[in-house]
């Protein structure tokens, strides 16, 4: 199966083409385009996915499914990937499979040791999730100040790992390979995909207006 993987939940604008072996679940990345720029998601995602497709020598109409990171991530950039996935799925009449972006980083990091994945949530907080040695997610996704997160004995990965420990290491961002691996079982089940619902984990900042301010001085 030919998959397009997209993620815009971190400063990385990621688009890649993947061949997924339906029987073994093996993932073969055919092409990938990544730019690290937190302000370019809306600009670059479609050019990237077109480039990746032409590098891989495939037409978008050949795609069997889209896989999309649904965060958690800073809202504006995150939406660029999600609306792109939803629109491609509509236009090409193919399913779009959601993947928790932290799961994609964990899948890229591999199994064998417990993992803690952390990405930057701005405002001095991190988005995080914890995984057992076999790769199952045990906690999160959640958003917290670094001080509230118990690393335990986990290996820390992800772009915001440095906010938690000095020994944080790669991978920093969701990759095409990680996205495809994290989605493989749902793609192969060929079921109705879960809805593409973003993991915002925070409410919008908005205050209800208080009493109207007077424009004239009140003399007492």
């Amino acid at each position: 199966m030919l998959l397009l993987a997209l993620d815009t939940s971190t400063p990385a604008v990621t688009a890649g083409l993947v061949a997924l072996d339906e029987t073994s679940g093996a993932v073969d990345v055919l092409a990938e385009r990544v730019t690290i720029n937190p302000r370019a998601h809306g600009e670059l995602l479609t050019p990237h996915l077109k480039d990746a497709a032409s590098t891989a020598g495939v037409a978008l109409s050949d795609l069997d499914a889209v896989v999309c990171g649904i965060g958690p991530g800073p809202f504006t950039g995150l939406r660029a990937g999600m609306v792109t996935a939803a629109s491609l799925a509509h236009a090409l009449d193919i399913p779009a499979y959601p993947v928790c972006s932290l799961d994609a980083i964990a899948a890229e990091a591999g199994t064998g040791t417990p993992l803690l994945v952390a990405t930057d949530a701005r405002r001095r907080e991190v988005y995080w999730a914890r995984y057992a040695a076999d790769g199952t997610r045990e906690a999160g996704p959640a958003v917290s100040p670094p001080a509230d997160i118990d690393i335990g004995g986990a290996r820390v990965v992800g772009q915001a790992g440095a906010m938690l420990t000095d020994t944080a290491n790669e991978p920093s961002y969701p990759t095409t390979n990680g996205l495809a691996r994290a989605a493989a079982s749902s793609v192969m089940a060929r079921g109705e995909p879960e809805p593409l619902t973003p993991l915002y984990l925070r409410r919008p900042d908005a205050a209800e207006p208080g009493e109207r301010k007077r424009v004239t001085e009140v003399s007492r």
Binding site: L45, F75, V83, A86, S87, A206, T216
Partner: protein, 358 residues
């Protein structure tokens, strides 16, 4: 030959998808002054109720709603038109002006549709869309024409030589937009958000001459085609506070009617003056406030007296929608203008002189 253009609008709090058909004019038809553009579908999902308790649009709330509504709204528009995406020949999308996060959702969606369908994409100006939409109802626009755009975010007088390529701003508000003034005054007098419709309704029972509210920017030294509504809003607040201090009950209908008269008076007076100054014979009024009953009545009266043809699209087309963007896209396609590159981004302060982004 005819082509189908899909328009996507997400500049503020409405997710709009419109479909129009562009038909080439019969070369033998010497009376035609522009392309024939016909409305096929106009679907809008609004998040206005979500913003009501905040008294104005909350950008993050609007952006979240756009993401949810985008594909469903596109599906509804196609179903209404009885078309599939394979019938679409070009995509147009609002590139600005508007809220950055909201614009991004529509622009990203439009790029994905254009890439997947392998059709050209046109990033176009929202304000030009408010003008172009009139061609869906009243046919090609005479060149030049004058446009008065009045909405919650904009108040502008435009000279439109060609809606697809040449629009010049003659004046605009220096502070609040006309619709914003309605929304703020509604809050002052205790009417719900958005304030335009309830003020319009309350004003019907009131006396427009009960209170002499100021006409902003109408002094001899003021810019002749600019507007100001913030002083008017403050004057209403002062008047109400004075009445409250004196223990009087507030005559809401009279306040609304007098406020509305001040707004309609300044808007129509300046628009007619601009048409006269530039020798323009046709005026289009568009944007959400064009639905205001007093504004259209007074404009009709004053245009008739000045020998100006007045065109006001029906209210549904005046508020933000995807059909206006599809209509503008159709004019851009008909003019054979180049498509936008796939790496453009939404521009919150896109000037009206930039009709399509390159």
């Amino acid at each position: 030959m005819s082509r189908v253009i899909m328009g996507i609008e997400t500049s503020c709090d409405e997710t709009g998808v419109g479909l129009v058909r562009l038909s080439e004019n019969d070369a033998a038809d010497a009376t035609a002054t522009g392309p024939r553009v016909e409305l096929l579908a106009d679907e809008v999902a609004s998040s206005v109720e979500l913003h009501a308790r905040y008294g104005g649009v909350v950008p993050e709330v609007a952006s979240r709603a756009h993401l949810e509504a985008m594909a469903p709204t596109a599906r509804r528009a196609l179903a209404t038109a009885g078309l599939t995406l394979s019938d679409v020949d070009a995509i147009a999308v609002t590139a600005g002006p508007g809220l950055a996060g909201a614009l991004l959702v529509g622009v990203a969606a439009a790029k994905a549709y254009a890439a997947a369908l392998d059709v050209p994409l046109y990033g176009v100006n929202h304000l030009a869309g408010h003008v172009a939409v009139d061609t869906l109802e009243h046919g090609p626009l005479p060149r030049p024409c004058l446009a008065l755009l009045v909405s919650g975010g904009h108040t502008q007088l435009l000279r439109v030589d060609d809606v697809a390529s040449k629009i010049t701003e003659l004046g605009s508000t220096v502070d609040d937009a006309a619709g914003e003034a309605y929304d703020k005054v509604a809050r002052i007098v205790g009417l719900p958000y958005p304030g335009g419709p309830p003020i319009d309704k309350a004003a019907r029972e009131g006396d427009p001459e009960a209170i002499a509210f100021p006409r902003g920017m109408t002094g001899p030294r003021d810019a002749p085609f600019d507007f100001s509504f913030s002083g008017l809003k403050t004057a209403v607040a002062r008047w109400i506070e004075a009445a409250e201090r004196n223990g009087e009950s507030i005559p809401v209908p009279d306040v609304c009617a007098s406020f509305q008269e001040a707004v309609a008076d300044v808007l129509t007076m300046k628009a007619v003056a601009a048409a006269r100054e530039y020798g323009i014979g046709t005026m289009v009024i568009s944007g959400g406030v064009a639905a205001n009953s007093r504004l259209s009545a007074l404009a009709r009266e004053r245009c008739e007296a000045a020998g100006i043809e007045l065109r006001v699209p029906r209210p549904r087309l005046c508020t933000d929608n995807g059909a206006m963007i599809a209509a503008l896209g159709a004019h851009v396609v008909a003019a054979d203008l180049p498509a936008s590159p796939l790496d453009f981004s939404g521009t919150p302060a896109l000037p009206v002189s930039t009709v399509t982004v390159r």
